[in-house]
């Protein structure tokens, strides 16, 4: 088997705000994961949008690429087209059904087995270490958004209103 670019890299799925496109939540998975997506709590990626099916789709790695497969009659919308399955490329966005939530697929840097785990259990022992690079990047992305800057610059006024 020929090694394909990106196949050993962990992936990131981001739930985007439907109106602003700002990431609301994100999930990181190793390269060998099969990721279930839907509205019910049993999924790996749980979204609360009523237009998303309880079990809507899954994302998995094939021999040559990552793909998304819909298991819902609502299907997936990519570039305005309804599809049952599609090959995923880095930074590609997909909508779960015609009016459902929007997810962005991304390949992370570094091979999966060297991806730092935030929390690892070894028997009863565990080790907690935040991934500072990822943390700083996510904070910076939100900080640069207009709404965050507006909020930060209006803080004094907001708190005056609060304190009467």
């Amino acid at each position: 088997m020929t090694s394909q670019p990106g196949e050993d890299r962990p992936i990131l799925l981001e739930l985007l705000d439907s109106s602003t496109g700002i990431p609301q939540r994100s999930w990181r998975f190793p390269a060998d994961a099969r990721i279930l997506i839907g509205r019910s709590e049993e999924n790996d990626v749980v979204v609360s949008n009523p237009y998303v099916s309880r079990s809507h789709a899954y994302v998995e790695r094939t021999a040559t690429s990552w793909q998304v497969v819909s298991i819902s009659s609502q299907q997936i919308v990519i570039d305005g087209k309804r599809v049952q399955q599609a090959v995923l490329a880095d930074r590609m966005t997909l909508r779960l059904g015609a009016q459902g939530s929007v997810l962005r697929f991304g390949l992370q840097s570094g091979p999966a087995d060297s991806a730092r785990k935030t929390l690892s259990y070894q028997g009863d022992e565990f080790y907690l270490e935040l991934d500072r690079t990822q943390l700083n990047q996510e904070v910076r992305e939100i900080e640069e958004e207009d709404f965050f800057q507006r909020l930060a610059s209006n803080l004094a006024e907001l708190r005056r209103a609060r304190d009467g």
């Binding site: 990431p23 009016q99 009863d124 907690l128 909020l151 609060r162």
Partner: protein, 256 residues
């Protein structure tokens, strides 16, 4: 002056709404006027814990955000459910819930159109005045968006609820960092659904060190709480349960 507390978690399923409802009930039972506002408009749920049925709701938070009513008109008096017997002639205790609509069309409209965040802020201030609240608890939507950041920014204190797993820890750290950038210094952490057998002292030490914030409680994974599954107030049904004692410790901290 009323105190505003936001209760937030990075992901769903952390027990945030259950925690919010139980903490609100315990604060009310300590003799205060408390409001709980469900800003988790996309996936409302806290009304179930207070036994508010959809048929009881004439106006919800959504109606205020679409300018169909004043925010105080959306308040449900749930004191009897949360406190038990009380003197209706006395002003305290009282607990009010401002629910979000469970109607699919209303939820879809918010997802589709968004809403005026400034109006939410005005509503929160108006609610405190109209109901003469001592405490307002904001049950926020999971994740980070404009509305959750506003709630956090106007809060006197932020409670971050998380389970001991990698995604919760990493995502919660983002929220904590953003809160600091919004000058919210008073932050406390609640670890929920902590499995048996975990070295609790070590977990607490590592979490406090990573977040530079105190852990107010470590709630065990409780079969009774899971059984209730958002269908009642745990603290009221099981007043002597160790979990209720932990909840009481959170409340003690919030009242100081």
């Amino acid at each position: 002056m009323a105190k505003i507390y936001s209760i937030h978690s990075f992901r769903g399923g952390t027990g945030k709404s259950n925690l919010t409802a139980n903490v609100a009930a315990l604060i009310a039972r300590a003799g205060h006027r408390v409001g709980v506002i469900d800003t988790d408009i996309q996936s409302p749920g806290i009304h179930v814990i207070f036994a508010v049925r959809p048929g009881d709701v004439q106006y919800a938070l959504n109606d205020f955000l679409w300018r169909r009513c004043r925010i105080e008109e959306a308040a449900q008096d749930v004191t009897a459910t949360a406190v038990g017997r009380f003197d209706p002639a006395a002003p305290r205790p009282r607990l009010f819930l401002i629910p979000s609509s469970v109607k699919t069309g209303e939820i879809a409209r918010v997802l589709r159109e968004g809403y005026d965040i400034g109006l939410l802020n005005d509503g929160i201030q108006q609610l405190i005045r109209a109901l003469d609240l001592d405490y307002l608890l904001i049950d926020t939507h999971p994740g980070v968006n404009e509305e959750t950041l506003l709630s956090i920014a106007i809060s006197d204190r932020l409670l971050l609820v998380m389970r001991p797993d990698s995604q919760d820890f990493q995502g919660t750290a983002v929220t904590a960092e953003l809160a600091r950038k919004l000058d919210v210094r008073d932050m406390i952490l609640v670890l929920n659904k902590v499995p048996a057998g975990v070295d609790r002292a070590l977990l607490k030490e590592q979490v406090e060190s990573a977040y530079q914030a105190p852990v107010a409680a470590m709630l065990p994974l409780s079969p009774e709480m899971a059984q209730l599954a958002s269908s009642g107030l745990f603290a009221l049904r099981h007043p002597d349960h160790p979990l209720t004692q932990e909840l009481a410790r959170i409340v003690e901290r919030l009242l100081t």
